[in-house]
Amino acid sequence: MADPITGTTFQIPQADVKAALDHLRLETNALSPLAVLLKGQQFTPALASPDLATQLNQPALRQILAIAAAPDLIVKWRIGGGSVDLMEFTLARNKGQGQALVLVAGAESSSILFRVFAQMADFVAWFMASYAGKNDQTVANYIPPTVELGELVYLLHAIDAFRIASFRGMLDYQAGQRPTLSLDEFTNTMQRSVKSRDIRWLLPAFLILTPGLDPAGFDLSADKTRILMDKSFLATIQTVGNSEQRLGFAEAGQTMGVEFYRTWLVAAGLEITVATPGGIAAVERLFLAPTALANHWIQIQSPAAPGQTARVNHQALTYDQLQVKLNQLFEQALALPVVPLASATPANPVQPAAAAPVSIAQSPGQPQVQAQPVASPSGVRFCANCGSPLQPGAKFCKQCGNKVG
């Protein structure tokens, strides 16, 4: 499918990014995705690529780096699960630079990829075209809001348990048999599933892809398993001559189990973090699992007070509903009051760059700008936190104490 978004795209060798920031007299702040990507990396003291210095004179590239270095709002994304490997990227916004958002991702071959979206709606359109389920009919929401985070964990594993049973049935040539399991089998496979960190299963995918989930918000006590029966995911089955209580999959478990067994390919987790006047705060966390039937939207509601249980709001959305909800979610976050963050690294005195204010938002059809990747010739390392040069073999920065080993 053709990408509906035409945006500026840059790819810069990771080893050159620090020098590029210095060249532009830019400093990373505590929200900057560059600070994370560059942590522990080796940098060239000056631009190694002969073309990059020229390209850094382009206003668009300068503004992209300015946004990526000092955002006041970021959206961390993790995408994967089902049959897709894990990938991560961060969307950065700096209100002072306008509405544009810069997607920053660690690319293969030690490069950092920058991609620009003129506004959040453009990013949402790109995300929808790339990942959303194309369903146009509503389906039953078997996990209506709200449920506790711990309860959701059990429900997600019930869906996985159906998939496990279906795969086992297939491997054992047991066509047509309704799968059953004991509560012990259920909890044992749940523990193995979580430990496996295998995002091909829904529960680990939720736990790993959703950034910033707080384990303290989970209550997995045994009484939470009641929700499996209450929401018609599992039901007790009467078996003749068997003292062990067996569980079968009730309507919700069967329906959602089949849905995810047959049609789930990918999931996405996101966390929106904003530099508010009260400090840096994660304001939204979301997990999305598109299937052929619905776009499963799981919004984490942080506890109102310490000690309270986190809850989640699950919705089964159509394609259009997901687009509306994502735009609403981001609009609310983008409208929050923000403050500029102090930089985490001091600026190096380098040649000042031209600073004409420009818009990096390109209209559709404009050519993409691509920096040439360059090799990293230098062995000199710099602290990713404060930018000071590091002694060879240093485990900690002498200037700021940052662990760099």
Partner: protein
């Protein structure tokens, strides 16, 4: 008279109001609307109506399927003789509604013993229904729940919208010919809902499509459910037409037809006139 038992207080207040209605009619006939006797009766009636409204509870009835927030609405659960149920001139407290609230309708399985009250109560048909017109919007979902109204079983069908919809006429609030909503400017309005709406009593397709959720009767936690297998609302019987209750009698009529008021001791105009006279005098 006052009582610690809300049911006793409610009964006393209503009985007194109904007595005053009768006496006011006599006073109007014999002494006229401007008479001191009529004005005194009006004043006492208005005071008791205020007392009735103030003691009518805001009852948790349902839950928003978009936010999970509990939906509460004023409701006289004591019986159909409460002024809340006077379909032409319902006396109800004004409560804060959820931002996602869209419409509030209902139905009622009537017990054999009916209340005696000098106004028409219109609790809807005898089994729950949904509005296909509203549910044709994917942004609207309905939730079906149960509430006991005296000896009767009430079926609450609350509609919620996300995002909010402002262009489509809503449904008259349960038991009334009016509805109230808050628009984008924050103002509350009262309008008459369409009276000739199609109703769908076949609930299973709506549950299957995810646009109708349900709450188990008696579930104080108001947990939303979406499965069909355990849904207790699918095979209910009862009249499909609107039921009208007046002075211990019930009859049915298709939605949109006008009920005759010729046999009633008090008309809507009588009651409104009585209340208006107090305001003028007071």
């Amino acid at each position: 008279m006052t009582s610690n038992d809300p049911a006793v207080s409610r009964k006393y207040v209503l009985d007194r109001i109904f007595q005053l209605f009768q006496r006011a009619e006599v006073a109007e006939t014999e002494a006229g609307l401007d008479s001191e006797a009529y004005r005194a009766l009006s004043q006492e009636t208005a005071s008791l109506v205020d007392q009735y409204i103030a003691t009518t509870p805001i009852v948790p009835l349902s839950r928003c399927p978009f936010t999970g927030d509990v939906f509460s609405h004023s409701l006289d659960t004591g019986g159909l003789d409460g002024l809340w149920w006077n379909s032409d001139s319902p006396q109800r407290p004004v409560e804060d509604l959820l931002p996602t609230f869209y419409a509030f309708s209902g139905a009622m399985k009537l017990a054999p013993a009916l209340e005696v009250a000098p106004f028409i109560a219109e609790p809807g048909p005898g089994r729950p229904f949904v509005s296909p017109r509203l549910l044709s919007y994917q942004q609207i979902k309905a939730v079906l729940s149960t509430v006991q109204i005296g000896l009767h079983t009430g079926y609450v069908v609350a509609y919620f919208a996300d995002p909010m919809l402002f262009t489509e006429p809503r449904l008259s609030d349960w038991g009334s010919n009016w509805y109230r909503y808050t628009d984008e400017t924050g103002l509350s309005w009262i309008n008459e809902g369409p009276s000739d709406d199609l109703r769908s009593f076949d609930l299973a397709p709506w549950i299957r499509s995810g646009q109708l959720l349900w709450i188990k009767p008696g579930d104080a936690s108001l947990t939303l459910r979406s499965d069909l297998e355990t849904c207790p609302y699918l095979d209910l019987d009862g009249p499909l037409d609107n039921q009208f209750v007046h002075n211990g009698q019930v009859w049915t009529q298709q939605a949109g037809e006008q009920a005759s008021e010729s046999d009633y001791p008090f008309t809507l105009e009588d009651i409104n006139q009585l209340l208006a006279a107090d305001k003028q005098g007071g």
